[in-house]
Symmetry: C2
Amino acid sequence: MASPSAAHAVQPLSLDRLKTACSTCGLRELCLPVGLSGEELDRLDNLIYLRKSIKKGTSIYRAGERFDALYAVRAGFFKTTVLLEDGRDQVTGFYMGGELLGMDGIGTEKHTCDAVALEDSEVCIIPFGRLEELSREMHNLQHHFHKVMSREIVRDHGVMMLLGSMRAEERLAAFLVNLSQRFLARGYSPSEFYLRMTREEIGSYLGLKLETVSRVFSRFQDEGMLSVQQKHVRIIDIPRLRALMGQRPC
Amino acid sequence: MASPSAAHAVQPLSLDRLKTACSTCGLRELCLPVGLSGEELDRLDNLIYLRKSIKKGTSIYRAGERFDALYAVRAGFFKTTVLLEDGRDQVTGFYMGGELLGMDGIGTEKHTCDAVALEDSEVCIIPFGRLEELSREMHNLQHHFHKVMSREIVRDHGVMMLLGSMRAEERLAAFLVNLSQRFLARGYSPSEFYLRMTREEIGSYLGLKLETVSRVFSRFQDEGMLSVQQKHVRIIDIPRLRALMGQRPC
DNA sequence: CGCGCTGTTGAAACTTGTCAAAGTTTGTGG
DNA sequence: CCACAAACTTTGACAAGTTTCAACAGCGCG
């Protein structure tokens, strides 16, 4: 029953303010501010003035806790997991810079999953009531927020597709291609990166056992598609990975 | 390349108006109007004045088509399917009275799946731009719409859970219990109903082959949990079904 | 009334899971 | 800073669950 919330302080942005405001954030083209004008950005800055450090292994929120804010990943890496009543749990998503966490909680006013940091991370707190308020006044913000939620639904459909009709190799290929694209969009190398999650977490997300994940990694390596050493991955042949997952190579 | 849209007319609600308005719709407690006051309902009625009949086997929209409206199921039954580039497709959801279709399209302005009627059906057309407009003025509507989207996300997480960590029996049990609850919420018998979908569609949704679905149905019947004859299902032992899917019996 | 779609069932094949053991890395405390 | 423990990863052999292929039955639409 660890209470991780107590471990890391919520800090207002006092002097740091300029550096941490949405208007100067490096992730603003990926995050909630997309498409806002200068003046609109200022109003959003006014709303999102709290951030929170989350130490590796601790959570932003847990299933069952009251929902009252969304969280934008400012730095770091997260997973969300849902727990079945019989103790089984499953990773439902991985989240990186600029992505929004917590939308699962809107429907019932309670979070339905845990959001756990896979490395020391930082999130911006977006009080949901005020976001709704502001989006009643700002057409652009409202529409963009709807887009973000919609994309979350589409993303989930992609995962359902993967879980429902792909074989192990295809699942891992799809997973790697997806990660690769997201790193690219953030200015990192799409072909070489460190996995922040364990084989077990990958497996849980992909509906596979960790041994299967490990075996498929080895097979990919044997076939010259990539090189893996523990968490370090270098993708050598992206077109072939794409072909594997049933997509056209380009 | 069938163009099913042409086959069924879009009809304004002229004289029929009173009977089809949200304010008098039997599904209003399950649908978009939840929580609206009388005056607010009137304004929503003003927005949702078109409905459309969808013949069995035809679609409301298809992947790739321009998105500009959501659809509320007024009567009937739908599935949504996504298509992989290599031709494989998968059912991502089943939708019945009062449920909203089309939210996948908001993010990209294009639909990402097909919405196909499994029986002759009718939907109400909700022009999305006007819904956003109205929800900027009506707090309740805005919040409820966000809840609906959020619940779609949570529902998808449930399916991911099912696909990622349940065995065939557990998946079918979860599917049946879910259907049962939704029928109950609509005033139908939770223990006896007709499946509108084929074994193949159930299998696609559950990540199983149709033969497996059929076998599991037979096994459930042999064990006295239910009786099936083709599409007619009578659930005899719901607690045992719930237990199977890893939930407490009540 | 028959043809086609849908559903059922069996046997064999295949993919993935399970169990086990050993190697590797990471983190912690002395 | 080293040593040891814990966590993570890899690999093998075998088991189990699901799919595949095939044959046949039943229902329903035209």
